[in-house]
């Protein structure tokens, strides 16, 4: 279980990493298909620059590099990783501003991936629906579900 602002990696057969009920947060999945190494981060906010005293994993600018580092530490390289993004919905609009945290989370996460030269293989983002993402080490398989819907496997594009 990867809760808000947390991340996890695994290469143990049978393990499933899951982020339940993503709203405007992003579930970032990294997968090395050949070696069955997976990682999942539950990113809450785009960047930490407005809160320098909280170098926490909830921010994309910290969480993405940390997830890459931990995934690579299990014995892969950034070249062999594929990324999947789930979440980044806009469920409510607060404050009357155009501040759409979901979209900004997605943008910040993609920017970090590009910086680390990791290919984005697929995403289920934006819209207004909450989502759950499950990452099975076996396969590896990345499954996404929306409220009341069926679980669907994300295929690498």
């Amino acid at each position: 279980m990867v809760r808000m602002g947390e991340l996890a990696v695994s290469r143990s057969s049978g393990d499933v990493l899951v982020a339940l009920g993503l709203g405007s947060c992003i579930g970032l999945v990294l997968v090395d298909r050949a070696k069955s190494i997976v990682g999942l981060a539950h990113v809450m906010l785009p960047d930490s620059s407005s809160s320098p005293n909280a170098p926490r994993m909830k921010f994309a600018d910290h969480a993405v590099p940390e997830l890459i580092r931990k995934t690579v530490a299990l014995g892969t390289s950034p070249l062999h990783l594929q990324a999947f993004l789930v979440g980044g919905a806009k469920m409510f609009s607060f404050g009357g501003s155009s501040l759409d945290v979901g979209a900004r989370n997605e943008e910040a996460t993609l920017a970090q991936l590009e910086k680390h030269r990791i290919r984005v293989a697929g995403k289920v983002t934006a819209g207004t629906s909450g989502r759950t993402v499950r990452v099975h080490v076996d396969g590896p398989r990345v499954l996404c579900k929306e409220a009341g819907g069926q679980e669907k496997e994300l295929q690498a594009a």
Partner: protein, 196 residues
């Protein structure tokens, strides 16, 4: 990182108790039913734990969210299970799962939130106004998470004032939560003669 003492949490719980009691009276008048209110929970939780404390993250619920403006800025959230949302609509004479049902539930959000905040206003003399209600039917985790994000940049702790408002004889309930921002809570506690 902000933490709250037991005494401060007790004071906030009492405030939530008065707020939800008043909100329950308003709901009782709307629905013509007796309403029970449990003793509210007041908890300051790390964000990672906050969602699970509210409920089962994948449970599909109807959430009505109102932004709170003024001296205690934050968000108010009402959560109904789908069944309870339908039942509340029936009690109001509105057909469930229609446009009318949506606006009826938003109106309940308006009334509960206004009476809850009104009670706090008259007790501590703060200036508080609710914004317009927004509604979503989705996974509990997604709704609560999106709400918590509104304060998340500045804090790692979510303060939840969580009341359970039950309609007697129906087995139906509304979960009413007030999630104030840190700054508002400090000034509120100062006004109550605590903290600061």
């Amino acid at each position: 990182m902000t933490t709250y003492s037991d005494l401060e949490l007790d004071a906030l719980r009492e405030l939530a108790n008065i707020g939800s009691g008043t909100a329950a009276t308003a709901l009782s008048q709307m629905l013509g039913r007796s309403i029970d209110v449990s003793v509210p929970k007041a908890a300051a939780l790390p964000l990672a734990e906050a969602v699970a404390s509210v409920g089962e993250p994948e449970l599909v619920v109807v959430g009505v969210v109102l932004q709170v403006f003024g001296d205690l800025p934050g968000l108010a959230v009402l959560l109904f299970t789908e069944r309870d949302a339908d039942r509340v609509c029936e009690l109001l004479g509105v057909e469930p799962s229609t446009e009318f049902a949506t606006s009826a539930l938003q109106e309940i959000g308006n009334i509960l939130c206004a009476s809850y905040l009104g009670a706090i206003v008259s007790m501590v003399g703060l200036d508080l106004q609710p914004g317009p209600p927004q509604i979503a039917c989705d996974m509990l985790g997604s709704i609560v998470e999106s709400v918590l994000l509104a304060n998340a940049a500045t804090t790692d702790i979510a303060l939840l004032l969580d009341s359970d408002i039950r309609i007697e004889g129906e087995g139906s309930a509304v979960q009413f939560m007030l999630i104030p921002s840190d700054e508002g809570v400090s000034s509120l506690l100062a006004r109550l003669g605590l903290g600061g």
